[in-house]
């Protein structure tokens, strides 16, 4: 079946599905034609849906022997013309770290879904968490930039997956899709768009012999098997791909360019949602699953007369520092509900001078609205 | 008695040779000897001193780790024994 025929059958349909499944459908819309993975709760549903649907669009699903193999196969497929993806959770994400760095270094477009569960180690294997926010940023060794997105609803899981593929193609960088066990497993309504109305960023492929690793900030890519005889390596390399592992200048030039291509586009990549920030005295910042009770808490606090604004981060990395800095100047306190012990809260602190309070909840159970209201109210009453 | 024999030429790419002596040691008829002078990178390269002993077996060309031995087998020449 062609992809067009397959997607035309989904057009304008409404399905009641899980966030994991919505992410998989989003990938199919984006043109994903290769998936390699290894089963793990709460991410297996992504793999299961891809296993079922990919053959229908002439794509390929493989279950590999582990997550290291999965990300390896995915990178190999990407250089062979594939739009590729893998999905895992914390333990598998940890195993993938070395090759996430390889994807950064070789500027390989690909999407890595991490449906976060409670860790460290096997932790609470079946329960949700947001404990890998910093691992997504800094998990692999060496200086590097990262793009990571985090949806808060099932529909957004679908929509944002399209964005994830587009960003990975546009910036030639791996993109981490930070679901959490809550949004991944919750069932909600998704409305499927018309594929003709969806914006898909095509891969910038050069048919000519060009420098694939330099010469411009984001060079074009090539596809294996077209006679380019390209050399792809995770070692420090020159713009033609050939190794140069001793020269300080070569490394400096390459790594600064790789960082710069993301850093200089920070504001363009950064996506967020603002509510009630005009009159606010306090700000709540949240993302993913915890953004849902956070929004509820903001509404409740406003009913009670507190002037609380809300920033929902959609792009996690690169960090939306511009807006955080700006909002930070307007408020006395920032509250950050998250399902970890303050990972993003600590990042916010770098950009504001007001007090930042983590509203942490761990243990695999999401915050309730009242818990967040209570924490914020008791802090605010001190003043 | 007249027998046919390949006319064989042996070349050593001195720029590639690393003087490992593998060709010298493994050549059964003993075609090569070690040269007296160093190549540009400081190795004593082999010299095909007894070219006429070569049987054209190709071992040296295949086993040389530097692709530095080239055996050329030209048209057949008749040889009087």
């Amino acid at each position: 079946m062609t992809r067009e025929n397959y997607l035309s059958k989904l057009k304008n349909r409404t399905l009641f599905i899980q966030g994991d499944e919505a992410a998989a459908y989003g990938a199919l819309y984006a043109g994903c034609n290769f998936f390699a993975g290894y089963p793990i709760t709460p991410a297996s549903e992504v793999a299961e849906l891809m296993a079922k649907e990919l053959p229908k669009v002439d794509g390929y699903y493989i279950q590999m022997e582990d997550e290291i193999a999965s990300i390896g196969a995915m990178i190999g497929a990407a250089w062979s013309g594939g739009k590729s993806m893998t999905a895992t959770s914390g333990p598998g994400f940890s195993l993938m770290q070395e090759n996430i760095g390889y994807a950064c270094m070789t500027e390989t477009p690909c999407v890595i879904v991490n449906v976060q569960r409670s860790g460290p180690s096997t932790g609470q294997a079946t329960l949700a968490a947001q404990g890998d926010m910093l691992q997504a940023r800094w998990g692999t060794h060496g200086d590097h930039e990262m793009i990571a997105l985090s949806p808060s609803s099932v529909q957004e899981s679908f929509d944002l997956m399209l964005e994830a593929f587009n960003l990975s193609e546009k910036y030639r960088n791996p993109v981490i899709f930070l679901l959490d066990g809550e949004v991944g497993h919750i069932r909600e309504k998704v409305v499927f768009p018309d594929i003709n109305e969806v914006n898909i960023h095509p891969r910038n492929i050069s048919k000519e012999k060009v420098d694939v690793f330099g010469g411009m900030r984001i060079p074009p890519m090539i596809e294996f098997g077209q006679g380019h005889r390209i050399h792809v390596t995770g070692s420090t390399h020159k713009s033609n791909g050939m190794r140069d592992v001793v020269s300080q200048e070569a490394h400096d030039k390459l790594i600064r360019r790789l960082n710069d291509k993301i850093e200089s586009n920070r504001d363009e990549i950064s996506k967020y949602e603002l509510h009630f920030t005009d009159d606010m005295e306090y700000l709540v910042v949240s993302y993913g699953a915890s953004a849902r009770p956070s929004m509820g808490a903001v509404l409740k606090l406003r009913e009670k007369g507190y002037k609380v604004g809300f920033l929902r981060l959609i792009t996690i990395w690169p960090f939306s520092s511009t807006i955080v800095k700006e909002l930070g100047k307007k408020v006395k306190n920032i509250f950050v509900p998250e399902m970890n012990l303050g990972q993003i809260s600590r990042e916010i602190e770098r950009f504001v001078s007001c007090a930042v309070h983590p509203v942490s909840k761990i243990g695999g159970v999401a915050h309730t609205i009242n818990e967040i209201v209570y924490e914020i109210e008791s802090e605010v009453k001190k003043y | 008695m007249i027998r046919e024999k390949d006319k064989i030429e042996i070349y050593i790419d001195e720029g590639l040779c690393k003087g490992c002596d593998i060709c010298i040691e493994l050549c059964r008829p003993g075609v090569f000897v070690k040269s007296e002078k160093l190549n540009s990178r400081g190795y004593y390269v082999p010299v095909p001193a007894s070219m006429n002993k070569c049987t054209g077996c190709m071992i040296c060309e295949l086993i040389c780790p530097e692709l530095a031995v080239i055996i050329k087998k030209n048209e057949l020449v008749k040889e009087v024994v």
Partner: protein, 274 residues
């Protein structure tokens, strides 16, 4: 006079960085002969390698599309390449530490899947690039930098292992048996399923010197004098085979190839033409 086979190499970076007398160069040399004799266009080859001296055989020297991956993962990366490019020759060349140590899991699973990769494992019995640490193929009792009192472990028999895992072509040869090796490489490349050759190779710098063989030629003579044809080993005792290099073809069987199986599933969803 230049070797015509240099046309297959990235000549601007020659001579190679391999030590004098290293078997890696011989493998590269024979591989070039094989590509030439099979008349394969290098544009139809995709080389995938890992980390180690042996991984440098194709990368950077052989001029084809080349994916130089992380340590041990070449076969995993190559799996993705082969699925997307089933008509290309996807060839992995890497070391014993890389493919049978850190990457051993990928090796046996690729053999089980019978994916159409060609894998040349260069077994120099040591971690060469990192300076001579024990590898899963180092023989017992051999002293290495990390087994200063002798290796306390037995070695993997890799060809036997890969054959047991289901590969459709498996052979073992040494860098001394150049003609057999050349023939085997051709057979491996032409075979449709997972094809594997364990190439016993000399590493004078990091291995040979620890077993009293300082020069590459010393290990080659060891290969010459101590190789034994697999066919002749039937009925021989383990003690008789100790320190021998059992060479020959270990498997050649007809099995369906993995990417072909994937494609057959996709065909089920082909539209019926109206």
């Amino acid at each position: 006079m230049k070797n015509e086979l240099l046309k297959y190499l990235r000549t601007d970076i020659l001579p190679t960085e391999f030590c004098s007398g290293c078997g890696c160069g011989t493998v590269l040399n024979i591989f070039c002969h094989v590509v030439d004799e099979l008349k394969i266009n290098p544009d139809d080859i995709i080389m995938v390698t890992g980390i180690g001296c042996s991984s440098w055989i194709p990368s950077p020297y052989f001029s084809a599309d080349t994916l130089h991956t992380t340590h041990g993962r070449a076969i995993a990366f190559a799996t993705g390449v082969k699925v997307m490019k089933p008509d290309k020759h996807v060839i992995v060349i890497a070391g014993d530490g890389d493919l049978a140590g850190i990457g051993g899991n990928h090796l046996i699973h690729a053999a089980r899947r019978n994916i159409g990769l060609t894998v040349f494992l260069v077994n120099n019995y040591i971690y060469g690039m990192t300076g001579g640490q024990v590898s899963p193929t180092t023989p017992s009792n051999v002293p290495t930098t990390t087994t200063p009192y002798g290796n306390t472990e037995p070695a993997f028999k890799i060809a036997e292992l890969v054959s047991a895992a289901g590969a459709s072509y498996v052979a073992r040869w040494t860098t001394y048996q150049v003609f057999h090796l050349k023939k085997a490489m051709k057979d491996a490349i032409l075979n449709k399923g997972f094809s594997f050759i364990e190439i016993c190779s000399q590493c004078p710098t990091s291995y040979g010197k620890r077993v009293g063989m300082r020069e590459g030629i010393d290990q080659l003579k060891d290969f010459r004098d101590n190789s034994i044809d697999l066919k002749k080993t039937a009925g021989m005792k383990d003690e008789e085979l100790e320190n021998k290099f059992i060479v020959g073809k270990f498997a050649e069987r007809n099995r369906t190839e993995f990417t072909e199986n994937l494609r057959n599933i996709n065909r089920k969803f082909d539209e019926v033409p109206v």
